[in-house]
């Protein structure tokens, strides 16, 4: 990845591109990959899904395009200054900060606009927003497990053991997990858990201690930091990664973004996605096998499942079989539904059985 001074140079280079286009008498423009489902492709080499060859052009040829590029120029200046000063800011702060710019046309109309622009700049410069020192609003999730690490903070480096030095809540993942250095670990595998309730259940039952698991809380659609850290566990500590979510189409997408990368950040898939991550459950098969309490699929669930069948990321034999089975039985179940067999069922029976099947333990 890039260093901070590289990041600044990349931004200045982009501004210089605009400058050169002006000077040559041509219309400034910025070309980006088209960010739609139909334009993501499987990258054989890295095993993740990235943007394909189709591109769209932001050109100053239209009023809309010109406004976008003007905002880009202002944002480039802001980011370059921020890097010079070694400060950081959140995406939301960028949105509000634009109000202070002396140009009405350059101000953002909504936060979506500023978020999108930062993503555009990431794609064009090849620099992640973390390296621009831009943070998301939501904090990263939490880790619990036998791992010792060193984090660079504003108040100096801290050495933390993620079981011994933390409370019941676990270790809070910082916005830029690349500031973390792994020191030592006894972990056997990484277990990413969708819901807070299930994470708490596993911690309360001592699952991390018993199985030397690094329990990572995803908290719904996982933040970049969480995905990045998960990838580093896999790449640097060589740990198997499994993902444990509810048994419904929305949760499969959470798995998908961990394993394959998300459509919006497909440009960062190589940096964020963990293609080796495997899905542990709840599988549609489990609903049948364990006779779990379930809810019927709603219309939007069915639509989501059908759209997943067309999503290139889910076009594997495993997923096609599972999704078709689910459409067939018309049911979905939450992680917590395992509690119908007792509070310890998940830690004593379900997870060990599934991990055993998958050859993780």
């Amino acid at each position: 990845m890039t260093t901070e001074s590289d990041a600044r140079d990349e931004l200045i280079d982009l501004a210089a591109d605009f400058y050169d286009q002006f000077a040559a008498g041509s219309i400034p423009e910025m070309t980006l990959p088209t960010r739609t489902k139909s334009n993501i492709e499987y990258d054989e080499e890295s095993g993740v899904w990235t943007y394909g060859d189709r591109t769209s052009t932001r050109s100053a040829n239209s009023v809309r395009g010109a406004r976008k590029l003007l905002k880009a120029a202002y944002t480039i200046e802001f980011l370059a200054n921020q890097l010079d000063d070694d400060r950081s800011s959140t995406l939301r702060e960028l949105y509000y900060l634009s109000e202070s710019w002396n140009n009405d046309e350059a101000q953002f109309n909504s936060q979506d606009e500023s978020n999108d622009l930062v993503e555009d700049l990431e794609i064009v410069t090849g620099v992640t927003r973390e390296d621009f020192h831009m943070r998301p609003e939501e904090s990263g999730a939490k880790v619990m497990g036998p791992l010792e690490l060193r984090e660079q903070t504003n108040r100096g480096d801290r050495e933390i053991h993620c079981q011994l030095d933390v409370g019941q809540g676990g270790y809070q993942i910082p916005n830029n997990p690349d500031t973390i250095e792994f020191l030592d670990n006894d972990a056997e595998f990484v277990l990413c858990v969708e819901t807070g309730g299930m994470r708490d259940r596993l911690v309360e039952n001592g699952f991390d201690e018993e199985h030397d698991a690094l329990v990572v809380h995803l908290g719904g659609q996982p933040a970049r930091a969480t995905r990045r850290l998960t990838k580093r566990f896999r790449d640097e500590l060589d740990l198997p990664v499994v993902v444990f979510t509810d048994g419904d189409p929305w949760s499969y997408r959470i798995y998908g973004s961990v394993a394959y990368g998300s459509i919006k950040s497909a440009h960062l898939s190589k940096y964020l996605a963990t293609p080796e991550a495997r899905f542990i459950g709840i599988q549609p098969e489990d609903i049948v096998e364990y006779d779990l309490p379930s809810d019927p699929l709603s219309d939007s669930d069915v639509n989501a499942l059908e759209s997943e069948l067309e999503d290139p990321r889910f076009q594997t034999d495993y997923w096609e079989e599972q999704i078709e089975l689910q459409l067939d039985i018309g049911k979905k179940s939450e992680q917590q539904s395992l509690a119908s067999r007792g509070l310890d069922f998940v830690t004593d029976t379900y997870l060990p059985e599934r991990l055993g099947e998958m050859g993780v333990i």
Partner: protein, 815 residues
């Protein structure tokens, strides 16, 4: 019960009593009581109507004499009354005619003429005179100087309302400074509350009469309102035309039949109507015969040696002519008949005459009228079994004998109906029809198409009842057509004009025949449209707008009167944008100022979807809003008004259609203008926004990169699809670089004004204008191309470049 009738009957002499109170009403007296019908319903309106009638007359008179109209209107207050003076430079009116023109209602030259003119009934100006005398008691004072006379004639007159005759109170010669013309002075009780309508009338008259000069003085005006001429071209002279056969009504036709000097229908048609020559008249007469007499059904003759052999029948009918002549005659007739597939009785008679004459020539025997008639009867009996052989008919009784017509009828019915009809149904239809044909009056099977349709329908319902086989509408129509197309128009001469005139039904038949015959549209030289250019010129003269369009339609006909519709639209500029558009209505070049809501033109405008044409129209119907003036002119030899006061056009569908087409034609131009204007406006807005954003972006990128501000004009010109003209001065060499970034070739007109003398021009021309030099180029630059125009100049001169040939929105000049 006591009836009312009997009560009256008891009172003797009541009818006589009533009769005493009944007397003739003079036309002048009638209008005295019904002033509103002529537009004199109030003092305010009376004044406007009087001006209108006098000005219309003046315009008609001058145009007829080929004089460019110069009309002066003055209104002054005289005590409690208003005095109205109207002067024109027309040809003047002779001493003899003058009192009648002004002093007699319904006296005029145009009522009977099919020709476009403003006045038609000869009521208008005399009604104004009448109104003036009724309200002020003053006579009308009229001066007229016919062209070429040294002195003018002065009259004072009133109308005797009992007799509708002028009553002259002064008649003397006088002097007048106009070389020719007419002046009328009326005093009337009036007010100026309708000042706006008066001004509208005069202004709109100026719009549709760009060849006229008008001046209006009235007490409320500090300065006289003057409308100058926009053209010296008089409207085309109009020709009077006769009525068109498609446009007369039954009553008119009967009157014309009574009045004509023609003896035959053919002569009548050719004499009294336009577009009717010999051929058209024959066509009308054939159609007339078909409706008046009906056609004769035709039948196929029996083949030789069939049972009813024509030859033997004819030879039997001939007596005392000798065997040779008889045989020659009989065989001649039979052969000729057999040559025809089908024959009617009239045709048979013609054949008999023809053959008789030949045989007479060959043999010297005489075949007189009786012999020929007998031969026709016998031959016809042989063909159709029809004739006055009473005994045979008695023999046949009501036996199963079928009519000899049946096979013939069957063949036609079978051919005319679909193959799916079962044979028995066709057979019984044929029998039923044949029976009905047998019952026709006379031997010749004459039937009109209407009757034929009735017979077929009758037979079909009979068959439906008896056989349960339906002959639907289409099948019946096909059967009727099969017989009608094989029936022949009879050779009888049409009745003479006099007898048609006395026979209402015959006249109705003639009218139907006239309407069903194809006849050329009436000629249009009886009309004087303003023409699209002058409609536009008129609008241009009186409305300061951004855009004008006009359309003139081709002539059409309604009720035998040709008419032409013209429409014009002015948009933008000084026309007020608030409220609904202004609608100018004109009929034969006369502005219509009252009763807008009752006018067909208003109805048409309201039902056009103006949003399609770029005008605002609340609710999608009704009067559109916006800065526009729509003018509509209907010119016709007979403009259909809703009332005698001639304020509003009646809703005649043919005229409404043409109005709509004319307005839409002009509106389409408006639409493309507005679209272009809108896209230019968008372009301007884009230019404004980009012209602000891009320099800021350039500043920002130069700040970030730490480089000097880049030159962005090239990028700007390219974005705007623009033509950019940029000056570069390099020592003594001046060059103008012209780049065409638009997607079309541009033909430019570039002038550079230099304060020192330029030399070494790359091309182009230079003109010295008092120490300033105009360097001119007219380069054509293809899309995407550029051109460098150079010259050399000494010192440090001043430049000023101007560029033409391209819209300013598309131009970026960097001087």
């Amino acid at each position: 019960m006591t009836s009312f009738q009997s009560t009256i009957g008891d009172e003797e002499g009541i009818a006589e009593e009533l009769a005493e109170g009944q007397r003739e009403i003079s036309i002048a007296e009638f209008f005295e009581k019904n002033k509103h019908m002529l537009g004199f319903d109030s003092g305010a309106r009376g004044l406007v109507t009087a001006v209108k009638e006098a000005v219309d007359n003046a315009l008609d008179a001058t145009e007829e004499a080929g004089i460019l109209p110069d009309i002066y209107v003055e209104i002054t207050e005289v005590g409690d009354y208003y005095r109205l003076v109207i002067e024109d430079n027309g040809p003047g009116i002779t001493k003899e005619q003058l009192p009648k023109v002004f002093g007699k209602l319904l006296y005029g030259s145009r009522f009977h003429a099919r020709e476009q003119s403003r006045g038609q009934q000869g009521i208008g100006i005399s009604a104004a005179v009448l109104y003036s005398q009724l309200t002020s008691g003053q006579p009308a004072k009229i001066t007229s100087r016919p062209k070429g006379q040294s002195r003018a004639q002065y009259f004072e007159l009133i109308i005797d309302t009992d007799t509708n005759e002028p009553e002259i109170s002064a008649d003397e010669e006088t002097t007048w400074d106009r070389p020719h013309g007419t002046r009328i002075e009326l005093e009337m009780e009036a007010n100026m509350r309708a000042r706006q309508q008066l001004h509208d009338y005069v202004k709109h008259t100026a719009v549709v009469n760009p060849h006229a000069r008008l001046e209006l003085r009235e007490p409320g005006l500090d300065e006289p309102l003057k409308f100058e001429r926009a053209t010296d071209e008089l409207p085309a002279e109009t020709e009077e035309i006769r009525p068109h056969p498609h446009g007369v009504e039954l009553g008119t036709l009967i009157k014309m039949l009574e009045a004509t000097e023609s003896y035959s229908v053919s002569g009548f048609l050719q004499e009294e109507f336009t577009r009717v020559g010999k051929k058209t008249a024959d066509g009308v007469i054939d159609n007339f015969r078909d409706v008046y007499y009906g056609r004769e059904l035709s039948w196929s003759p029996p083949r030789a040696h069939d049972d009813g052999d024509v030859a033997s029948a004819v030879s039997e009918a001939v007596a005392n002519k000798g065997a040779e002549a008889t045989t020659a005659f009989a065989e001649g007739v039979a052969e000729t008949v057999e040559n025809d597939d089908r024959v009617t009785r009239s045709e048979l008679a013609a054949i008999v005459d023809d053959v008789a004459e030949t045989v007479e020539g060959d043999t010297g025997k005489t075949f007189g009228g009786t012999v020929r008639e007998n031969a026709v009867d016998a031959g016809w009996r042989a063909i159709t079994g029809r004739g006055d052989a009473d005994d045979e008919e008695a023999d046949s009784g009501d036996g199963p004998d079928e009519s000899p017509l049946v096979p013939d009828v069957y063949a036609l019915v079978d051919e005319a109906t679909s193959t799916r009809k079962d044979d028995a149904a066709v057979q019984s239809m044929a029998e039923a029809l044949a029976r009905r044909f047998e019952n026709l009056d006379g031997d010749a099977f004459r039937v009109t198409r209407d009757d034929l349709e009735r017979l077929v329908a009758d037979a079909a319902s009979f068959v439906a009842e008896q056989r349960d086989a339906t002959f639907g509408e289409t099948a019946r129509e096909n059967v009727v057509e099969a017989f009608w197309s094989r029936a022949r128009t009879v050779p009888d001469d049409p009745p003479k004009v006099k007898s048609i005139a006395g026979d209402r039904d015959a006249a109705a038949d003639l009218l139907e025949a006239m309407r069903t015959t194809d006849i050329l549209a009436p000629p249009t030289d009886c009309l004087a449209p303003i023409t699209a250019e002058l409609v536009e010129a008129g609008l241009r003269k009186e409305y300061d707008a951004d855009f004008y369009a006009a359309a003139t339609r081709d002539a059409e006909v309604h009720g035998g009167d040709p008419f032409i519709v013209e429409a014009g639209i002015a948009y933008g500029g000084e026309i007020p944008a608030e409220g609904s558009v202004e609608l100018l209505r004109f009929a034969n070049r006369v502005p219509l100022v009252y009763q807008r809501g009752a006018c067909a033109t208003t109805d048409v405008i309201k039902q056009i979807g103006w949003r399609n044409y770029g005008l605002d129209q609340p609710g999608g119907s009704g009067m559109p809003n916006g800065p526009a003036v729509i003018s509509i002119h209907v010119a016709s030899t007979n403009v259909p008004f809703t009332s005698e006061s001639k304020d509003a056009l009646a809703n005649v569908p043919e005229i409404e259609d043409e109005i709509e087409l004319a307005v839409r034609e002009a509106a389409r131009e408006l639409k493309s203008y507005l679209n272009k204007r809108r896209s230019m406006q968008q372009r301007r807005e884009k230019q404004d926004v980009l012209g602000r954003i891009l320099p800021e972006m350039a500043d920002k990128v130069s700040e970030v990169t730490g480089r000097p501000r880049p030159d962005i004009d090239g990028a700007l010109a390219r974005i705007m699809n623009n033509v950019s003209v940029e000056r570069e001065v390099n020592g003594e060499t001046v060059s103008l670089v012209v780049e065409n970034h638009s997607d079309v070739n541009e033909q430019l007109d570039i002038t550079d004004i230099v304060s020192a003398e330029p030399t070494d021009l790359s091309d182009g021309t230079v003109v010295d204008m008092d120490g300033e030099w105009f360097v001119q180029w007219k380069p054509e630059i293809p899309s995407g191309d550029e051109r460098e125009l150079t010259y050399a100049v000494d010192g440090d001169p001043e430049f000023e470049v101007s560029v033409g040939g391209v819209e300013t929105e598309k131009l970026t000049v960097n001087d």
